[in-house]
Amino acid sequence: MDFIGNLALGFSVAVSPTNIFYCFVGVLLGTLVGVLPGIGPIATMAMLLPATYALEPISALIMLAGIYYGAQYGGSTSAILLKLPGESSAVITTLDGYQMAQKGQAELALSLAAIGSFIAGTFGTLVLSAFAPLLATVAVKFGAAEYFCLMVLGLVAAIVLSSGPLLKALSMIILGLLFGIIGTDINSGLERYTFGIPEVSSGISFAVVALGLFGVSEILANLETGEKRAVVSKTIEGLWPTRAQMRQALPPILRGSVLGSLLGVLPGGGVTMASFGSYSIEKKIAKDPSRFGKGALEGVAGPESANNSAAQTSFIPLLTLGVPSNGVMAMMMSAMMLHNIRPGPQVITSTPELFWGLVASMWLGNLILVVLNLPLIGIWVKLLQVPYRLLYLVILLFCCIGIYSIQNAATDIYFGILFAILGYVFVKLRCELVPFLLGFILGPMLEDNLRRAMLLSGGDATVFVTRPISASLLAVVALLLIVALLPKIRRKREEVFQDQEA
């Protein structure tokens, strides 16, 4: 009863014309900046924050939140069409989304992402309104040992989702972990592998690595042939998924929604882990896993849903604990405080109309996103009809501006160049880049939590199996490893046998 009443209260706040207007503005702006590589939601929110002083607090928060999930969506658009992952959660979408676009299914990929995001967003809103306080207690149960096991689980997922030889995937993960170490060590204050360059002393930004590794190196690959090459060969399929395609996409969307809303609660990497996790699950349970990486629609629908529901529930630590779990949430927290609201356990009771209004506006924002984006898809795809001889110049310039804008540092562009070379060469050597990137994202957290767990346990490694949550996570790791490795080893053996017979 409470739940219905609360949501009703929320909607009565959110559907005022003013709030719908600001929700629309936020979502639209978010989508547009999300499409631009490197220009993330945080910078946009920061820029608009002063403009919200004159607004009602709830309108301001609705608009800023809209920028966040709008940008998530816009990020998937450029990941699908141009292989430009602007956010870590969009990396996985480049795998099958870009392949779908190459096959002429760009519109389908984008509409599946939109539909999946909407369903997941609806689910996330329901979870947020029904279980927010409960899920917050889960977030507080995660200590260093639990996080370490979660990160290990993420890395195992990277092995599952890779399709090449096991040793190569493992090597790429480790290389990614090593690159993730670059920067100042939190524990000792020592700078590692920075060569005294101040711009990298806080580590290399994700966007620098991703845009170089994926975006620019893809341009290099496309320019090889020296002939006109349409990025999107003519669209052969329309916007709307067929009934059969929808039937195929719906289960991944639902699984992604559930997984995402659970992982999103965890501060630190939850949203990214959700999209990676969803992809691994879909690939693992697919009848024919070999379709993945070649334009499987489950590989778009699942992760896109997962990251959207995770984006919704990532508000939980902020709203219920007053702890911002990432840069975007820190920005939301600033916005609230500038409007005289202190996020935390008291928000629900002291300003219920604000809490529930924001929750309801997220569902509304997702609805607006779908309504806004389905027509926009046509325009995005049209933009790709620009001849590649001009398009690559646009992409390259935007990548450079985006990389620069992250910390206003030209040095980062040189690093972008290095990662472009790395990406280009590794693709030639048939090494997959996604495991590298996942290692890069998780590396710092993996090390940090391992060291803290060992410090706190006095060097006793059994801490990972004596704590129930971390023990169950490790059990999942073991299970996954068995499931993942058996077929690979078997295949390897078969190959060896075939070779010997030949």
Binding site: I39, L167, D185, K228, L393, V394, S405, I413
Partner: protein, 153 residues
């Protein structure tokens, strides 16, 4: 032997070995610590050593397989590499002193050398339009922090 030198598995393994050695050598500057109190060198040393071993396994594997077939790495195309990345470098070098308009035009002109089916008038027009677009949309519109015009002395 030629075949080995173009085997992607062999070269990838070699790359991993080299990266492993590089990171391992770097990690020797950092304190190793103990299991309880891991120093800044612990994690990188364990990882780079594992990478080294994995790389070696792949090199050996590739050498074994080189005898009977195995695939070849496709070739590197140097021209796009030089001009696309060169364009980025020029952009990075000129942006803060000469502003986005000049830097964007230079990037387009340099990277435009390797445009497929290149037409210079078109590239020049793109340079002008993109420079204007960047200044208006990114700097004026989105407030990205960069100069528009060359710095006046």
């Amino acid at each position: 032997m030629r075949r080995l030198a173009t085997s992607p598995d062999f070269l990838a393994g070699l790359a991993f070995v080299l990266f492993g050695i590089g990171f391992f050598a770097g990690s020797l500057n950092y304190e190793y610590g103990s299991v309880q109190e891991m120093g800044p060198g612990y994690f990188p040393r364990v990882l780079s050593a594992s990478l080294l071993v994995l790389g070696l396994l792949q090199v050996i594997g590739a050498m074994r397989e080189a005898g009977h077939g195995g695939s070849m790495a496709s070739r590197l195309y140097v021209r796009p590499l030089i001009f696309v990345l060169g364009g980025m470098a020029v952009f990075a070098a000129t942006l803060e002193t000469f502003g986005i308009v000049v830097a964007a035009m230079l990037l387009v002109l340099v990277a435009g050398v390797v445009a497929p089916d290149r037409r210079w008038p078109e590239v020049a027009l793109a340079a002008v339009l993109l420079a204007a677009f960047s200044a208006l949309v990114f700097v004026k519109g989105l407030g990205v922090y960069m100069p528009i015009w060359p710095e006046m002395p």
